[in-house]
Protein backbone atom coordinates (compact mmCIF):
# COMPACT_ATOMS: atom_id res chain seq x y z
CA UNK A 1 0.00 0.00 0.00
CA UNK A 2 1.18 3.44 -0.90
CA UNK A 3 1.02 5.97 1.89
CA UNK A 4 -0.74 8.35 -0.49
CA UNK A 5 -4.15 7.06 -1.48
CA UNK A 6 -7.09 8.63 -3.25
CA UNK A 7 -10.43 6.89 -2.98
CA UNK A 8 -12.37 7.97 -6.06
CA UNK A 9 -14.82 5.08 -5.95
CA UNK A 10 -18.35 6.06 -6.94
CA UNK A 11 -17.19 9.20 -8.74
CA UNK A 12 -17.72 9.71 -12.44
CA UNK A 13 -15.78 11.49 -15.17
CA UNK A 14 -13.99 13.83 -14.80
CA UNK A 15 -13.89 13.77 -10.99
CA UNK A 16 -11.33 10.94 -10.58
CA UNK A 17 -8.86 12.87 -12.76
CA UNK A 18 -9.57 16.23 -11.10
CA UNK A 19 -9.21 14.75 -7.63
CA UNK A 20 -6.06 12.88 -8.63
CA UNK A 21 -4.51 16.09 -9.92
CA UNK A 22 -5.28 17.74 -6.59
CA UNK A 23 -4.00 14.78 -4.58
CA UNK A 24 -0.76 14.63 -6.57
CA UNK A 25 0.10 18.11 -5.37
CA UNK A 26 0.46 16.72 -1.86
CA UNK A 27 2.64 13.81 -2.99
CA UNK A 28 6.39 14.57 -2.91
CA UNK A 29 8.13 14.21 -6.26
CA UNK A 30 9.18 10.62 -6.87
CA UNK A 31 6.57 9.12 -4.59
CA UNK A 32 3.50 7.20 -5.64
CA UNK A 33 -0.17 8.06 -5.43
CA UNK A 34 -2.52 5.11 -5.35
CA UNK A 35 -5.98 5.70 -6.78
CA UNK A 36 -9.10 3.57 -6.44
CA UNK A 37 -11.88 4.10 -8.95
CA UNK A 38 -15.07 2.42 -10.09
CA UNK A 39 -15.31 4.40 -13.34
CA UNK A 40 -14.44 2.10 -16.27
CA UNK A 41 -13.57 5.20 -18.31
CA UNK A 42 -10.80 6.02 -15.86
CA UNK A 43 -8.61 3.26 -17.33
CA UNK A 44 -8.15 5.14 -20.60
CA UNK A 45 -8.28 8.50 -18.88
CA UNK A 46 -5.48 7.93 -16.38
CA UNK A 47 -3.30 6.70 -19.26
CA UNK A 48 -4.05 9.89 -21.19
CA UNK A 49 -3.58 12.04 -18.11
CA UNK A 50 -0.14 10.59 -17.48
CA UNK A 51 0.90 10.82 -21.15
CA UNK A 52 -0.06 14.47 -21.24
CA UNK A 53 1.29 15.56 -17.87
CA UNK A 54 4.46 13.45 -17.80
CA UNK A 55 3.61 11.69 -14.56
CA UNK A 56 4.40 8.00 -14.65
CA UNK A 57 1.62 5.43 -14.68
CA UNK A 58 3.33 2.68 -12.72
CA UNK A 59 0.44 0.25 -12.73
CA UNK A 60 -3.17 -0.11 -13.79
CA UNK A 61 -5.13 -3.07 -12.45
CA UNK A 62 -8.68 -4.24 -12.05
CA UNK A 63 -10.01 -6.12 -9.05
CA UNK A 64 -13.69 -6.90 -9.58
CA UNK A 65 -15.46 -3.58 -10.03
CA UNK A 66 -12.58 -1.58 -8.68
CA UNK A 67 -9.73 -0.16 -10.74
CA UNK A 68 -6.44 0.55 -9.05
CA UNK A 69 -3.85 2.91 -10.46
CA UNK A 70 -0.43 3.84 -9.20
CA UNK A 71 0.94 7.13 -10.43
CA UNK A 72 4.44 8.31 -9.66
CA UNK A 73 4.56 12.05 -9.18
CA UNK A 74 7.29 13.07 -11.59
CA UNK A 75 5.94 16.22 -13.21
Amino acid sequence: MSEHTLDARGLNCPLPILKAKKALKAVPTGEILEILSTDPGSVADFGAFCNQTGNELVSSNQDGDVYKFEIRHTA
Partner: protein
Protein backbone atom coordinates in the same frame (compact mmCIF):
# COMPACT_ATOMS: atom_id res chain seq x y z
CA UNK B 1 -0.77 32.39 -16.46
CA UNK B 2 -0.51 31.84 -20.21
CA UNK B 3 2.46 34.15 -20.52
CA UNK B 4 4.93 32.43 -18.26
CA UNK B 5 4.94 28.92 -19.66
CA UNK B 6 5.07 26.79 -22.76
CA UNK B 7 1.86 25.10 -21.72
CA UNK B 8 -0.61 24.23 -24.41
CA UNK B 9 -3.70 26.39 -24.44
CA UNK B 10 -7.38 25.81 -25.04
CA UNK B 11 -10.32 28.13 -25.53
CA UNK B 12 -14.01 27.28 -25.30
CA UNK B 13 -16.87 29.46 -26.48
CA UNK B 14 -19.79 28.65 -24.19
CA UNK B 15 -23.13 29.52 -25.80
CA UNK B 16 -25.69 27.36 -24.08
CA UNK B 17 -27.41 27.83 -20.77
CA UNK B 18 -29.17 24.59 -20.02
CA UNK B 19 -28.23 22.02 -17.38
CA UNK B 20 -27.21 19.36 -19.90
CA UNK B 21 -25.15 21.68 -22.11
CA UNK B 22 -23.43 23.21 -19.12
CA UNK B 23 -21.47 19.99 -18.70
CA UNK B 24 -19.23 19.73 -21.78
CA UNK B 25 -17.49 23.10 -21.36
CA UNK B 26 -16.89 22.73 -17.63
CA UNK B 27 -15.80 19.09 -17.88
CA UNK B 28 -13.30 19.84 -20.63
CA UNK B 29 -12.08 23.06 -19.06
CA UNK B 30 -11.38 21.47 -15.66
CA UNK B 31 -9.82 18.38 -17.19
CA UNK B 32 -7.60 20.36 -19.55
CA UNK B 33 -6.46 22.52 -16.65
CA UNK B 34 -5.69 19.37 -14.64
CA UNK B 35 -3.61 18.14 -17.58
CA UNK B 36 -1.53 21.28 -17.57
CA UNK B 37 -3.23 23.34 -20.26
CA UNK B 38 -4.00 27.02 -19.90
CA UNK B 39 -7.73 27.35 -20.45
CA UNK B 40 -9.84 30.33 -21.47
CA UNK B 41 -13.63 30.22 -21.47
CA UNK B 42 -15.69 32.83 -23.28
CA UNK B 43 -19.33 33.03 -22.20
CA UNK B 44 -21.78 34.50 -24.66
CA UNK B 45 -25.54 34.56 -25.16
CA UNK B 46 -27.23 31.84 -23.09
CA UNK B 47 -23.83 30.62 -21.99
CA UNK B 48 -23.76 33.65 -19.72
CA UNK B 49 -26.23 31.74 -17.51
CA UNK B 50 -23.32 29.58 -16.45
CA UNK B 51 -21.64 32.52 -14.72
CA UNK B 52 -24.67 33.63 -12.71
CA UNK B 53 -24.03 33.72 -8.97
CA UNK B 54 -26.98 31.48 -8.31
CA UNK B 55 -27.23 28.77 -10.92
CA UNK B 56 -30.75 27.80 -11.86
CA UNK B 57 -30.13 25.53 -14.83
CA UNK B 58 -32.90 23.50 -16.39
CA UNK B 59 -33.34 21.05 -19.21
CA UNK B 60 -36.17 20.83 -21.68
CA UNK B 61 -37.29 17.74 -23.50
CA UNK B 62 -39.10 19.91 -26.07
CA UNK B 63 -37.64 19.39 -29.52
CA UNK B 64 -35.02 17.11 -28.02
CA UNK B 65 -35.69 13.57 -29.25
CA UNK B 66 -32.10 12.65 -28.41
CA UNK B 67 -32.85 12.97 -24.72
CA UNK B 68 -33.75 9.46 -23.68
CA UNK B 69 -34.02 8.97 -19.97
CA UNK B 70 -33.58 5.57 -18.39
CA UNK B 71 -36.94 4.58 -17.03
CA UNK B 72 -38.26 1.22 -15.91
CA UNK B 73 -35.44 -0.61 -17.63
CA UNK B 74 -36.01 1.23 -20.92
CA UNK B 75 -34.98 4.48 -22.48
CA UNK B 76 -37.80 6.89 -23.10
CA UNK B 77 -37.87 10.14 -24.99
CA UNK B 78 -40.67 12.60 -24.45
CA UNK B 79 -43.16 13.34 -27.25
CA UNK B 80 -43.20 17.08 -27.94
CA UNK B 81 -46.87 17.34 -27.09
CA UNK B 82 -46.12 16.08 -23.59
CA UNK B 83 -43.10 18.37 -23.23
CA UNK B 84 -45.33 21.41 -23.64
CA UNK B 85 -47.43 20.56 -20.59
CA UNK B 86 -46.57 22.88 -17.69
CA UNK B 87 -44.39 21.16 -15.11
CA UNK B 88 -42.92 18.57 -17.46
CA UNK B 89 -39.62 20.41 -17.90
CA UNK B 90 -39.39 20.92 -14.17
CA UNK B 91 -39.94 17.20 -13.65
CA UNK B 92 -37.37 16.31 -16.31
CA UNK B 93 -34.87 18.67 -14.67
CA UNK B 94 -35.48 17.07 -11.31
CA UNK B 95 -35.07 13.63 -12.81
CA UNK B 96 -31.80 14.65 -14.45
CA UNK B 97 -30.47 16.10 -11.19
CA UNK B 98 -31.33 12.88 -9.38
CA UNK B 99 -29.53 10.86 -12.05
CA UNK B 100 -26.49 13.13 -11.82
CA UNK B 101 -26.33 12.61 -8.09
CA UNK B 102 -26.89 8.87 -8.16
CA UNK B 103 -24.22 8.29 -10.83
CA UNK B 104 -21.49 10.21 -9.02
CA UNK B 105 -21.44 12.93 -11.65
CA UNK B 106 -20.29 16.32 -10.40
CA UNK B 107 -22.75 19.19 -10.11
CA UNK B 108 -22.17 22.22 -12.31
CA UNK B 109 -21.57 24.29 -9.18
CA UNK B 110 -18.80 21.86 -8.19
CA UNK B 111 -17.18 21.86 -11.64
CA UNK B 112 -17.35 25.64 -11.90
CA UNK B 113 -15.71 25.99 -8.51
CA UNK B 114 -12.96 23.59 -9.60
CA UNK B 115 -12.47 25.58 -12.79
CA UNK B 116 -12.03 28.77 -10.77
CA UNK B 117 -9.63 26.98 -8.42
CA UNK B 118 -7.62 25.70 -11.38
CA UNK B 119 -7.24 29.28 -12.62
CA UNK B 120 -9.30 28.76 -15.74
CA UNK B 121 -9.66 32.24 -17.18
CA UNK B 122 -13.26 33.26 -17.80
CA UNK B 123 -14.44 36.09 -19.98
CA UNK B 124 -18.05 37.27 -20.00
CA UNK B 125 -19.35 38.79 -23.22
CA UNK B 126 -20.03 42.49 -22.63
CA UNK B 127 -22.55 42.66 -25.44
CA UNK B 128 -24.58 39.82 -23.93
CA UNK B 129 -24.66 41.61 -20.59
CA UNK B 130 -26.02 44.70 -22.34
CA UNK B 131 -28.44 42.76 -24.49
CA UNK B 132 -30.08 40.83 -21.67
CA UNK B 133 -29.70 43.64 -19.14
CA UNK B 134 -27.32 42.03 -16.71
CA UNK B 135 -24.57 43.71 -14.73
CA UNK B 136 -21.26 42.21 -13.59
CA UNK B 137 -22.83 42.08 -10.10
CA UNK B 138 -25.09 39.29 -11.34
CA UNK B 139 -22.04 37.14 -12.06
CA UNK B 140 -19.60 35.27 -9.84
CA UNK B 141 -16.37 37.07 -8.96
CA UNK B 142 -13.52 36.58 -11.34
CA UNK B 143 -14.70 36.74 -14.95
CA UNK B 144 -13.34 39.60 -16.99
CA UNK B 145 -15.47 41.40 -19.54
CA UNK B 146 -14.63 41.32 -23.21
CA UNK B 147 -15.90 41.05 -26.72
CA UNK B 148 -15.26 39.28 -29.97
CA UNK B 149 -11.81 40.77 -30.41
CA UNK B 150 -10.82 39.62 -26.93
CA UNK B 151 -11.82 36.09 -27.85
CA UNK B 152 -10.11 36.15 -31.24
CA UNK B 153 -6.87 37.33 -29.68
CA UNK B 154 -6.97 34.39 -27.24
CA UNK B 155 -7.97 31.92 -29.95
CA UNK B 156 -5.34 33.05 -32.44
CA UNK B 157 -2.56 31.85 -30.17
CA UNK B 158 -4.35 28.82 -28.74
CA UNK B 159 -3.72 25.17 -29.60
CA UNK B 160 -7.33 24.03 -29.20
CA UNK B 161 -10.42 26.15 -29.87
CA UNK B 162 -13.86 24.72 -29.17
CA UNK B 163 -17.37 26.05 -29.67
CA UNK B 164 -20.09 24.64 -27.47
Amino acid sequence: MADDSNAKTMTIICTKGTLDWAYPPFILATTAAAMGLDVNMFFTFYGLNLLQKKLDLKISSLGNPGMKMPMMGMHMSMPNIVSTIPGVDAAATKMMKNLIKSKGVASIEELREMAVEAEVKMVACQMTLDLFEYTPDDLIDGPELGGAATYIEMAAKSDINLYM
